[in-house]
Structure formats: C-alpha cells, structure tokens
Symmetry: C2
Subunit: 246 residues, 2 copies
Amino acid sequence: MGVTVTSRALDLLGAFDGEHRSLSLTDLARRADLPLATAHRLVGELHRWGALAREPSGEYVIGRRIWQLGLLAPVQSGLRQAASPFLHDLYGATLATVHLAVRDGIEVLYVERLAGHVSVPVVSRVGSRLPMHCTGVGKVLMAHAPEEVRAECLRQLTRVTAYTVTQPARLLDQLRRVRAEGYATTGEEMSLGACSVAVPVRNGADVVAALGIVVPDLRRQLPRLVSALQVAAHGISRTLASVQWK
Amino acid sequence: MGVTVTSRALDLLGAFDGEHRSLSLTDLARRADLPLATAHRLVGELHRWGALAREPSGEYVIGRRIWQLGLLAPVQSGLRQAASPFLHDLYGATLATVHLAVRDGIEVLYVERLAGHVSVPVVSRVGSRLPMHCTGVGKVLMAHAPEEVRAECLRQLTRVTAYTVTQPARLLDQLRRVRAEGYATTGEEMSLGACSVAVPVRNGADVVAALGIVVPDLRRQLPRLVSALQVAAHGISRTLASVQWK
DNA sequence: AAAATTCTTCCACTGGACGGAAGGGGGCCG
DNA sequence: CGGCCCCCTTCCGTCCAGTGGAAGAATTTT
C-alpha cells in the first residue's frame, strides 16, 4: 500500500522544508522521486487548488490555501491565540526572546516565537523541531511527558555544545527538580551565549505546552524572570480553561 | 477532468474552514460529497501522513504537518517575519489593533493581526478574507491594484453598515486621494464603532501589502497615527528590500 | 434490547493514473 | 549562427490502483 496517488501528491508537498521553500518542477520530481510527467500532472492539480503557488521565476512555493488551512490546526487556533496577549506582556516585561512550544513525539515543536529587533542568537524557528534535552522548554515538556517518551529521549542525548547534559542520570535528576520547583533552566546547552528559563503551561491538570525565554545570562535576575513566566503561564492556562480547549 | 484522486483528497481538506475546525468522518464525506468508503480510505492516508490529526473525541482536525507547511508559504516566511518587530512597535505606540494584509484576487487576506487583551470589536481573523471596499487596508490595496481588479471590485460594492461606500464614483474618488496622500481611512464602514487608518507597504516600487490599525475614533489624533503607521511601513519595506523578498 | 448512527473491512470491476517518448522554448557557449 | 543542454508541456495505449456497494463491527441513543 505504498504507492497511492494521494501519497504521491503529499510527498510532493513534503518536498518543501525550511531549506527548500521554492522548488522547480524538476526539483520537485527529483525530491519526491517521481517521473517528470507524473509530477507535472500532480503539481498542476495542487496548483489549481491553491496548495502550491508559482513565483514569478516559475518555481513553485507553498500556496496561501495551505497557509490558511494551517491556521485552523489546533496548535494554532487554540493554544497560540490564547497565548498571544500574554506573550506580548512577557516580552514587554523581560525584553527577552519568548518561546511557546509543545511536545511532538520526542522532540520540541516551536509554536510561537517572539523576538525584538535584536536578540540573543537563537536557533529555533516557528514550526521547527529541536531535541528536548538541551532546551528550557524541552526540559519542561520532558519532565511532564509519559514515562516511555522520557525513556526514548534518554537513549539519544546528543551533545550539541560543551555544556549539553548527556548523562541520563544527571538529566533525570534535573527533571525531578523541574517537577518539584516548577521551572527549568539551561546554560549554553544548545548554543553558546544563550541561557533559558521555562515553565509549564497547563490545561486543567495536563501540561500541554511550555513557555520559555532566552537571555544571555540568568544568574542575577532568575527569580524575577521565573515569576514573570509563571504569571504569563497562569494567564494562558486560565484562558485555555475558559475556552475549553480540546 | 473533474474527478481525480488528488482533487478528492484536496476537497476533503477543503471541507475544513473557520466554522468547521473539526469534522467526523461522516461529516467529511458529506461535505466533500464522497461515498463514505472512499472518504474513509483517503482520510486514512491524509491522517497517516500527518495532514489530519485525530482529536480524543475521534473527530478529525487539520494536522501539525499542514501547519508546518503553511509556515513555509511566502506570505508567512517573508512578509510576516519582516513585519513582526515593527508591528509590535506600532502596537506599543498606538495600543490599537494592528493589521497586516495582502490582496488575494479581489479580496483582502489578513496575514497578521495583533491585539491586546481588550480591543475594539473587529471581525477580521488571521487567514480570513474580507471585501476591499470597506476596510482601511482594503482601500489601500485596491488603490494600488491593477485597473481590472479595481473594476471587478466596483461591480460588487456590498453594503455592510449604513456607512459603507457603495457608489463607484465616490469610492474611486477616495482611492485617488489614497494614492495622493499615502493613507486610507474608514469610518464605521465595516462594523459600527470601528474606524481605521492604513498605509501601503512597499517592496521597491510595488505595493505588496497594507498596514492598518483599528480605533474607536480617529478625529483627534489622525496625524499622529498616520505618522506612526508610516514609520512602521517604511521599516518593513526596508527589511523586505534588504532580504530581497520575492 | 432494539434502533439508529458512525466507523471499518472486503472485493470484483473499471476508468483514471501512469510514464515513456516526443515536441516546444529559452539560455549559454563555441 | 548553430548546436547543446536543461526545463517544461503534451500525448496516448496500457494497466493497476481507486472505486463504492454491501456487509459487519462498534458505539450511542431511544
């Protein structure tokens, strides 16, 4: 059941990613591993429907219709909208890069990112994924994930910087503290010069997301940042509860 | 050439909209006008790929993968990212609901919306469309649209409130002034109690988007608002030019 | 417990999908 | 200018994946 028409069309869409935002017909055919004639027909249909658009150059890009559909996804319409005003407040209070993320499998999926004109160099982009063990939001989500997910993560603690925690025991110890104290921190574990603090966002009893900020250094004002984060997280949680999200 | 497999799969996705964010299999089949067995198979494939997700209730919703794809669309990745910091500045300076919109056919497509905790009642949502003749951003986009688009719009000047401009001649006159003065205004033409000001966002010589704000009343501080808008629009234009968007 | 509704699986027929091949168009180089 | 290369588009006979009626399972309602 591997080669259905639908799966081919979807594979064409899947040919696009962060590094390949516009592709020629030939590129699409190559990346989806389809004969040119077949790709031509399918791409034509996708284009007619609005899933793909054509740049002046002739290359194809993801169309507005897909973008509009994406806005209907639950991450977007529920969580993001509930969080939006609180994220702005948080940014205003801290002037740090603000992140909202959810867990997707064993990775962190960034749902929203809010940064000013200048900011600490950060790798995350909205819609991108990162491993959980070396980011603030990731530690929060991992700490509150089901046991089997945590176990799976521990199996691949890849080293990113010299400060990345790669010993399972040590990470588990940190996660225990995250649950106990209600917030997680990292210090240059993902990229040098960037530290982070994060707190869980709840919907009822469940942890549905994590809210975090990235700063150059957090020795001095950690208590203030944690309290600002918790105020925002509580606000989001309350909004989620009131709209009965999910 | 109306009934291809791909078009059916796409129609299933198209069954979702602002009012129907989650649908049961039966609903999907009904809305896409497909036999249940066929819908079942196609939905299964879409689900397997990640285009659809399943709620705890068993209903289907747009999946994260579509959301991620949407983030790659040019509106999103180019325009929105370039605009983001300036929109926050603008919100900070005016505390009004801020809108960024592009033209899509003969309608206004809202690309970004930024509102505080409380705000003037506004109908727009990100990803939604509205007619051009009765919104601030719409008038800006219409004023700078190709002649044939303008003509097409004039053919359907639907009345929304008692203040909506429905006489072609009068609207054309307003548009001429928009081009001359560099900004457009509306007064309760879309919804009562809401006025708006908007300015064009350029990329080189082309008007690629419109930036607008909605306020309860604009008699008093119009000059200040226009200048704040223009500062932001220039900032966005400069950013677009520097990243060679499109 | 019966009835109604929704979801899932099955399978034989058939019409839409397939893709090799050939034909256009534009850009680059010798 | 002509030859070459690359990319896009169209065509058409073959064939297999898609189709959908029907039956059955699962769930909810009456």
